[in-house]
């Protein structure tokens, strides 16, 4: 990890309906918040681009699923159903990984 520990983490996940891919990404993030990021206040927002295309337009989302770490800055964007080990995901998001 680098920098001081964040007070709060905001994650926005853009999905298209409840596809298996979306479910997989949601499950991965829920697990991440409950385990690896349990020490932090973790705000996970799921946005369905089919129901809310304006949101997708505003954040210029192309692919689904897309995860944006909105806070702490700077934002990070990851495309895909996040089928990777948690430490890899945290490194990509530039979030602390405390081991367990």
């Amino acid at each position: 990890m680098n920098g001081p520990a964040p007070s709060k983490i905001v994650l926005h996940l853009y999905v298209a309906g409840r596809s298996p891919r979306a479910e997989r990404a949601i499950a991965t993030l829920r697990r991440l918040c409950e385990r690896e990021l349990a020490r932090y206040e973790c705000d996970l927002v799921i946005i369905d681009v089919l129901a809310d295309p304006q949101q997708a337009e505003a954040r210029k989302i192309l692919a689904t699923p897309t995860l944006i770490k909105e806070f702490p800055e700077p934002p990070r964007r990851i495309i895909g159903d996040l089928g990777v080990p948690p430490e890899e995901l945290l490194a990509a998001l530039n979030l602390p990984y405390d081991g367990l």
Partner: protein, 511 residues
């Protein structure tokens, strides 16, 4: 059309000339792939497709993968398309899929482009679009590594556009002017309708062409057609060979300005014909076009002169020397002189501006002095296309056109201009220097007069303060046209006349 298997409705794009070569427009309700190398005006085409639609009252959605909407708004303003205003009026919407600053794309796992599709569908519904442009596919393939996924997803988007009844243009890059239609196998998902834009370098000169490669199940014009991209208008296609030869042919004669030349032509030029006047420098070509226009002014007809060799002042001074007052004619609204250097712009642009001038001034007579000056700035093919385009345009307007052409040698000879356009023009008048017993004289002959009998003599022709005067035929000299003069004794002329008593004059041994 007879060749159509089924009736496929067309959407007139509104791109000047394009609908002509597309036999009416793009197939309605389908997606057309527009492919071209870098700098082939793909983005302009995609934008103009929407802009022309807006001007026809149809809303459009522009999906941009490469340039930002801000850059597009700015760049397209020069073509007269105020996209920002159309966005405010709800007639144009962007779907911004261009790379974002914070967009360090990381890919972890499987994905699709549902978000993009949802945004496009949302934008289409929001403005009630009938047209969609997507520009350009290469950018998205570059960003998302998985070509197969992107291809499948784009196919899904194209299918969705179709089900919404939209007519769409998708642009794609190609690496070579001739070869694969596009990179990344794009032709696999847009297979029905393909348009290719080319930006060729021929003899160090740029030439743009557009070719409709296919419109499945329906007709279009074949081959490449030149086009140009001009400020304030955008793409203008020059539909040369698609121009129908439907111009009416009139029997009405107009005066050349010289009663004697009129007589030689069997009663004057035809009102809707093209006359080529060819000769070496100083033989009187500019005089002939000046006389032609002055004669029109006498009858209250308007003339438009395009001069590529001399300035306005020079032209006016020359005319005064022959008793013609250009300034007075201009004041009376009977003359407009347009001077520019052929090097200023390409021939395609030159053609468009000539057409604009003609449509604005609506003259009865058009003179181009000289056509050969334009030959310098073009390839032979490009020049020929220019002359065909111009000639056909002038004839459609039912006006008379007089072109001058300068021969490269003082004596005899033909110019490249003539070799390439003599079949296109209706009449050809040759002006030649004639060396006669140590003195230079001028000769004139009517070589061709389509649809009419004409005088076949080579007549002496002189120039003074009142203009041109056509005199007697040269009888005792031959080889004028070739520049290889032979003086013939009078007795020999009699003998030859006896031999060819019922024939035409024994002219034109060669050349």
């Amino acid at each position: 059309m007879a060749t159509d298997v089924s009736v496929i409705e067309r959407l007139p794009t509104g791109i000047p000339g394009f609908d002509h070569i597309a036999n009416g427009g793009l197939p309605r309700g389908r997606t057309t792939l527009v492919s071209g190398t870098a700098g082939s005006a793909k983005t302009v085409f995609a934008s103009q497709f929407l802009a022309a639609g807006v001007q026809l009252g149809e809303a459009g959605v522009f999906v941009t993968f490469e340039e930002s909407p801000a850059a597009l708004r700015r760049n397209m303003l020069g073509f007269g398309w105020n996209i920002a205003e159309w966005e405010e009026q709800g007639r144009w919407a962007f779907v911004d899929a261009s790379p974002q600053a914070d967009d360090e794309l990381m890919i972890m796992g499987a994905y699709d482009l549902s978000a993009l599709l949802a945004r496009i569908e949302h934008a289409v519904r929001r403005v009630g679009a009938t047209r969609v442009s997507m520009d350009s596919l290469g950018a998205i393939f570059n960003r998302l590594a998985d070509t197969r996924v992107v291809r499948n997803e784009l196919f899904r988007i194209v299918t969705s556009l179709k089900s919404m009844g939209l007519t769409a243009v998708i642009t794609a890059e190609r690496t070579h002017e001739y070869g694969d239609i596009g990179r990344y196998g794009v032709e696999e998902f847009v297979t029905d309708d393909v348009v290719i834009l080319r930006n060729l370098l021929e003899e160090e000169k740029r030439r743009r062409t557009v070719e409709i490669l296919k419109f499945r199940g329906t007709s279009h014009q074949k081959g490449g057609f030149p086009f140009t991209v001009i400020p304030g208008q955008g793409i203008v296609v020059i539909p040369l060979s698609a121009i129908e030869l439907k111009q009416r042919s009139s029997n009405v004669r107009i005066s050349s300005g010289s009663p004697e030349l009129d007589r030689m032509c069997g009663g004057g030029f035809f009102r809707d014909s093209i006359i080529l006047v060819s000769g070496a420098t100083g033989t009187g070509k500019t005089l002939m076009s000046t006389t032609f226009m002055a004669s029109g002014a006498l009858r209250g007809e308007r003339s438009l002169l395009f001069a590529f060799e001399e300035s306005r002042d020079q032209l006016a001074r020359n005319a005064i020397g022959w008793g013609v007052d250009f300034e007075q004619m201009e004041q009376d609204g009977l003359l407009r002189v347009v001077c520019n250097y052929p090097e200023v712009t390409g021939l395609e642009d030159q053609l468009i501006s000539i057409q604009d001038e003609i449509l604005r001034f609506r003259p009865q007579r058009v003179a181009i002095d000289s056509l050969s000056a334009l030959e310098r700035v073009s390839t032979i093919k490009g020049f020929r296309e220019f002359v065909i385009g111009l000639t056909s345009f002038i004839k459609h307007q039912e006006m008379a056109g007089l072109y001058t052409s300068t021969t490269p040698t003082l004596l005899g000879g033909t110019s490249i201009t003539e070799a390439h356009i003599s079949t296109i023009t209706d009449s050809i008048i040759l002006l030649r220097y004639v060396e006669l017993f140590g003195e230079m004289r001028r000769g004139l002959t009517v070589l061709k007069m389509r649809g009419s009998a004409h005088d076949k003599d080579i007549r002496e022709f002189s120039i003074d303060g009142t203009g041109m005067h056509i005199g007697r035929p040269f009888r005792n000299i031959s080889g004028i046209l070739s520049g290889q003069f032979t003086h013939v004794a009078p007795s020999e002329i009699e003998r030859l006349s006896a031999l060819f008593r019922d024939e035409e004059n024994p002219l034109l041994p060669e050349g």
